[in-house]
Symmetry: C2
Subunit: 354 residues, 2 copies
């Protein structure tokens, strides 16, 4: 093990351009010896980001061999799995292989883990030519190794649930932790428990967020979903006080139904709909002095900023942060406590694998 | 005056598509009679959004007559000045012409005002064919009328400063008001006055924001600027405790210089640099548990969200809202109190008109 001084955010592994962060780098070095605060993971599976896999699959007309060669080429050239077209990565699971003596991550060799930082900044070597992957799915069986920095994040996979369910939870675990924190902050600053509306409440991040809002003490929760099928699923899960059906991109419909259900605009609105155009509805559904958290990557910064200005809406708008301390443990615990969320996740995983 | 029931956000003037907000509408109706909660403005000048004017100017190879015809065509067809390519608008100044008896805006006929909501949602009629405009500048002398809704925002132009300076201040007045509010909230929630870093501190929104941070009780303010010329200007203005020179898009450089100047990362970082790529530097310059406000329209939502996750940064990220109650009065008062800001604005207006 090297005693070389290393950067907690991985600057020492950036090859080009010099001086940028690993995520912005064209090439990182996954081969240099492990430093004292790094961890090496023996990789078992990559979960490619959905947008990245779709781009590769379409660019190669669904030819699995060509898709596999493309991933091998990217990782071989860049030292990380960052799709140059979409800019996105994914996550991986594996087993802890070696732990530097100064690593603050608290991992032990032999533990099964998932990385919660993106593959876009994770140094990666593939050693099996991806022979077990047919190039037809974003789930990539893989042998090789990956490097975690001191400020990376990895979660130990729990033994009491299937790994695909753990991964599905970890993929969105920033949302419930942050929702709970905002509910607590609003309660502390106003002296009253807030009402919470979640747009997209039957989805993965949405169901965890609405359960988190209730667990954190929300006075009332409204789950907005797109159709009656989702409404039935959310009602069966029993995690929302009220369910409402509306098109989240229809600002007038969203705000009208929220006013109807709450008798007033919401104190906190959480956007978990993975589609563009939900900014204005969320703003209009929220009271002056209230807050909106945007978790969807389809959120447009300028639509949110200009929308609030155009509506003269004094709303505190927050960019959902994928990282909050202990977010994975918090989300996994919610799943353990709430049978309804487990059922939603089980249905979703079954329909995805069908 | 009609007694027709009207919508405070202007839904009654949307022609197509039906049911969307005025900003999202293809066509709004500027000709319908004034309703009881609306205000009619007699227009004197449009200030086109810079991106919108540039697009029109380039599309017509700098031919002023063609640019003028293009603006007339847009306003004639859409009932508002929203550039269909850039989606952006601008603002206008004029005189209050008529005030509905139920208008909550507090305006009186004859007052000189600037609209602080975007032209993208303001019903507008042009009656002079823009004869006084050469199509060569975003400042458009104009006769006609515009409609303000109950939830629109307009500010009375103060008598104690030139209108171009008032407009320049009002254009960015959301930033200082929101910075001051965040400083007060952080002080209240932690019991300690926060340190504040402003990226782009010599610009219009930046200089007002750093002065607002100090006025709101920041423990220490650091203004980051791009070169020595800006550093000299900021030092002469005397509104920042410390000045530092760094490229705001160089994440490592920004965080290094902030750590140097403060001995620690910032409690609050305010991004006022109108260029893409400033997200990671702002995040890395901010302490865990601290906050970042993004005021630049060049901010990328996904760069911010994924950047924080990739850096395992527990930072509260806020979308700068162009509207906070009394934001225009607050910013104008800062300008009156701080000779240094007045000088920065004067220099900037001189260089723009040169």
């Amino acid at each position: 093990m090297s005693t070389e001084k290393s950067s907690p955010i991985g600057l020492h592994r950036v090859v080009s351009p010099k001086g940028v962060l690993p995520q912005a780098a064209e090439v990182v070095d996954p081969h240099a010896p492990l430093t004292d605060d790094e961890v090496r993971i023996s990789v078992e599976r990559l979960n490619l980001d959905a947008a990245s896999f779709r781009q590769l699959y379409e660019a190669h007309d669904g030819d699995g061999d060509a898709v596999r060669q493309a991933v091998l080429e990217i990782v071989g050239r860049r030292g990380k799995m960052q799709n140059p077209v979409t800019g996105s990565g994914g996550m991986l699971i594996g087993t802890v292989d070696a732990v530097g003596p100064d690593s603050p991550l608290g991992l032990k060799p032999g533990q099964p883990v998932a990385t919660l930082v993106s593959l876009t900044l994770t140094p990666l070597v593939i050693t099996d030519e991806l022979r077990q992957w047919d190039g037809q799915s974003e789930q990539v069986p893989c042998q090789g190794h990956a490097i975690l920095f001191a400020r990376s994040i990895a979660a130990v996979l729990p033994e009491d649930m299937p790994s695909d369910m753990s991964l599905a939870v970890m993929d969105v675990c920033g949302a419930p932790a942050m929702t709970a924190r905002l509910v607590e902050q609003l309660t502390a600053s106003t002296g009253t428990a807030p009402s919470v509306v979640v747009l997209g409440a039957a989805g993965k991040s949405g169901s965890l967020s609405i359960a988190a809002a209730r667990a954190a003490g929300a006075s009332r929760t409204v789950g907005v979903v797109r159709d009656n099928t989702e409404a039935d699923a959310l009602n069966s899960a029993g995690i929302a006080d009220t369910t409402a059906v509306a098109d989240a991109t229809d600002a007038v419909a969203v705000s009208t139904i929220v006013h109807e259900k709450l008798g007033a605009p919401a104190d906190l609105t959480v956007v978990c709909v993975d589609a563009p155009g939900c900014e204005h509805g969320a703003i209009l559904a929220t009271r002056d002095g209230g807050a909106v958290i945007f978790f969807s990557m389809a959120t447009s910064f300028s639509q949110a900023a200009l929308g609030a200005e155009g509506l003269a809406a004094d709303v505190h708008m927050v960019i959902g942060n994928g990282y909050t301390p202990n977010h994975a443990e918090y989300a996994l615990d919610l799943l353990r406590r709430e049978r309804g969320i487990r059922e939603l996740f089980t249905q979703r995983l079954l329909s995805e694998s069908a």
